[in-house]
Subunit: 461 residues, 2 copies
């Protein structure tokens, strides 16, 4: 426990390194006093403690104020306590019988989330799943079952060619779902986006009409806060189109406030902007009973209808899992400790930092924004232009060189362990930095530090 | 932390209650000083601590020596420390970049597991997944992709009608996978079992031949330790049949020792007999590269080929998830602390307790075994026959009454919170108790206690 508390203290300290980088082969071969190999015989307790310390030492401090690499960052101490308690309870969410409190908490959290997306008046449903990609998979699964209930017993060969629609900026999870569910990635149709990364409704409608020659349009995935640009698709327009053509509308949301949705289902990941420890993702569906009907297998060894309590609280038949980790408690405990208001404050702080970074980038001459306009979410995408590139006119040659800048800076950043930020190419754009804020430990000075660090590492490239 | 340590101490104490039962509506409405409702405003720290204490108070102590309800039981203190550390590190398994140590540990654990199932000489592959049902889903997914790689892009409508074969005693996860993957539960063909619950190879062969009229046989799921009876399917015979007809052979294993398999893939759940905290499940596949080819989507924002380290260590493209919880560390740490030998000792202890219970049941006149023969795994299935039933001749009337005995005893057991054991009907058998051992805290005296408790609660029924 002392090792953990010590680590947590270090994590919050901006003067400590974000990571102590080693290559995979170095870890595989073992570092001084730290071998990852497993033996037949037990190791002494002192060695186990050393192993724990070293595991943390060579890992990445995702709660460090200068860790910006992923949208899941920060280390909320109440959330962590919640996770420790869940681990101590070590139970399974499939029946009320063995997880009475957690099961009821899940019910209460889902209800609260229903209210917040604007479904307070309906009998909605939902489930916590092991991550946003699985939640998105649920959305396609349930949409398909609703339209073609025979899928469950007869399979896809009994169905027409169905088509799913996603924006070209949407997360790859829908393509993944199409591959897993036997729909096929060819049947996921990409809808064009505007310069800000928002789905273009007229293109959606055109693609739906065009697809009808060979496909049965089924489902549209919209995103309220895309992964790379942080863009909000025009939900109202998309909803109208879905209604017109009778398509299922799913929305993958990043922000939990002030959304009144006409969607059929929603993915909401508290382990992102709300700062809940990994994993914590919820799939919400407007129509009650659908999840159960779609996934129910009625295994006698788990779900006995002759139990003495109300077995409608057993959630196992709503899921595609059997055993399921208790991911609800940490969220519930954080909600108790912060209140809805506390989450709002947290997210507003991240939004302000994004705003601050945007303004800083605009005022510094060696940085260029990937797209114009103030950030809608906490994402800010930008290039660093080293002095050597400033004299080269815009064109393929400059692009080629610029493409190599971010990877080189990032590699050096990781070697030195000073900060971490992600980069990627996107559509026709060469490698750029993508900053995302969600870490409550981050301050403006850490943002300044990042820009100065990029400048320091990149100025001679 | 004091609350947690106190709870852990109580968990190991056989004199404490296994659970303090309340009905769902009671928890929903709130108990004295413990309301599950969420508010806009934060609650004070003292209330948060009370909430934590009450959450544990009204939960189920799955580590209690008299908790026998599920195969995942026990509370290993090293495993728990491992889970606490993983929670503190709060990272994501998708890239080596942000989970360097855990990623390499996963590699090492998989290699160790490959050796133990007899694949030490091949370049095998695998992934840790959120539970055995998802691991089994991977097996069908990969088997389908291997035979029909076009499934990924074109979907099931491009494929013939495929058929999966499972024993009638196998876990419902394969049917669930068939529903999710778009294969359809009708195309999961049940193979008959003998009295002990083992798949009958001649029936498997007959079913394969028969299915060929309408189906393309693809996959056989065998189980080494079924859920209810703990039966071992005849793996060698099944392997021969799979080879003869070119079918994928998957084995869902409970015991990790001395299995030399000719299978194509294996599900292995360390969170069961090995006592690792939930969730910890591994899917192993003999052919390297298949998982990656099947699930890869190459998302640019996560997987940059121009990173400075060897990116073949990034595991994200092998999974059906995106974010993935670090489930490996607790297993790795337990393995360090116990050695392979320690896990053997642990499992042998559970097997001995099953043996002990079997002998006790044989010697007590009010108990009847569901099937003859010594237990092969830690499962022991039995009826309690109350004195009032002993005079009734075997037949439908007695069966009907016997069916009600276990639920009544279990309900009372839960009300009093003295112990927990599961019951279920199975095929033509009416409700019986299913005992499973995996909890290292359990001793022979706890087994005696269970039998006496059943007798006490059931003698007047």
């Amino acid at each position: 426990i002392d090792i953990l508390l010590n680590y947590i203290k270090k994590t919050y300290d901006e003067k400590s390194k974000v990571l102590d980088f080693h290559h995979p082969h170095q870890l595989l071969e073992g570092l001084e006093g730290f071998s990852l190999e497993l033996c037949d015989q037990p190791e002494p307790l002192e060695q186990i403690l050393v192993d724990c310390r070293d595991t943390l030492k060579y890992g990445v401090k995702t709660g460090h104020p200068r860790y910006f690499n992923q949208l899941s960052s920060g280390l909320d101490i109440v959330g962590l306590a919640g996770e420790w308690l869940s681990a101590s309870a070590n139970t399974n969410m499939f029946t009320y019988e063995i997880a009475p409190v957690f099961t009821v908490m899940e019910e209460i959290l889902l209800k609260k989330m229903h209210e917040m997306v604007g479904w307070g008046d309906t009998e909605a449903d939902g489930i916590f799943s092991p991550g946003g990609t699985i939640s998105n998979l649920y959305s396609v699964l349930v949409a398909r079952y609703k339209r073609f209930p025979e899928i469950k017993t007869k399979g896809m060969t009994a169905l027409p060619h169905i088509a799913l629609f996603v924006s070209e900026h949407s997360h790859y999870s829908i393509k993944k779902a199409a591959a897993v569910l036997g729909i096929g990635t060819d049947n996921v149709i990409a809808v064009k986006c505007d310069e800000r990364g928002k789905m273009i409704p007229s293109d959606l409608e055109a693609k739906i009409l065009k697809s009808k020659r060979q496909h049965t349009p089924l489902y549209v995935n919209a995103t309220a806060g895309t992964t790379v640009y942080g863009a909000f698709d025009p939900l109202e327009n998309i909803a109208d189109i879905c209604k017109k053509y009778g398509l299922w509308m799913h929305v993958d949301v990043m922000l939990f406030i002030n959304i009144s949705l006409t969607a059929n289902s929603v993915t909401w990941n508290p382990h992102k902007l709300m700062g809940v420890p990994l994993q914590c993702s919820a799939f919400l569906v407007r129509e009650k009973g659908l999840l159960q009907a779609c996934n129910q297998m009625c295994a006698g060894y788990l779900f006995q209808p002759d139990k003495q309590y109300d077995t409608t609280y057993d959630t196992g038949d709503k899921t595609i899992q059997c055993g399921r980790h208790a991911d609800v408690f940490k969220l519930w405990l954080m909600w108790k400790a912060k209140g809805t208001r506390g989450f709002e404050i947290l997210i507003n702080k991240s939004l302000e930092l994004a705003e601050y970074l945007y303004k800083e980038l605009n005022s510094r001459e060696n940085f260029e924004l990937v797209f114009d306009g103030e950030p809608e979410l906490t994402n800010v995408c930008f290039w660093y232009i080293p002095p050597s590139l400033r004299s080269i006119p815009k064109g393929p040659e400059r692009e080629k060189l610029l493409h190599q800048v971010a990877p080189k800076i990032k590699a050096q950043m990781i070697e030195e362990g000073t900060t971490m930020v992600s980069y990627q190419p996107h559509a026709d754009k060469v490698n750029f930095f993508r900053m995302v804020f969600s870490n409550p430990a981050t301050r403006k000075s850490d943002v300044d530090f990042l820009l100065e660090e990029i400048e320091r590492l990149g100025k001679d490239l």
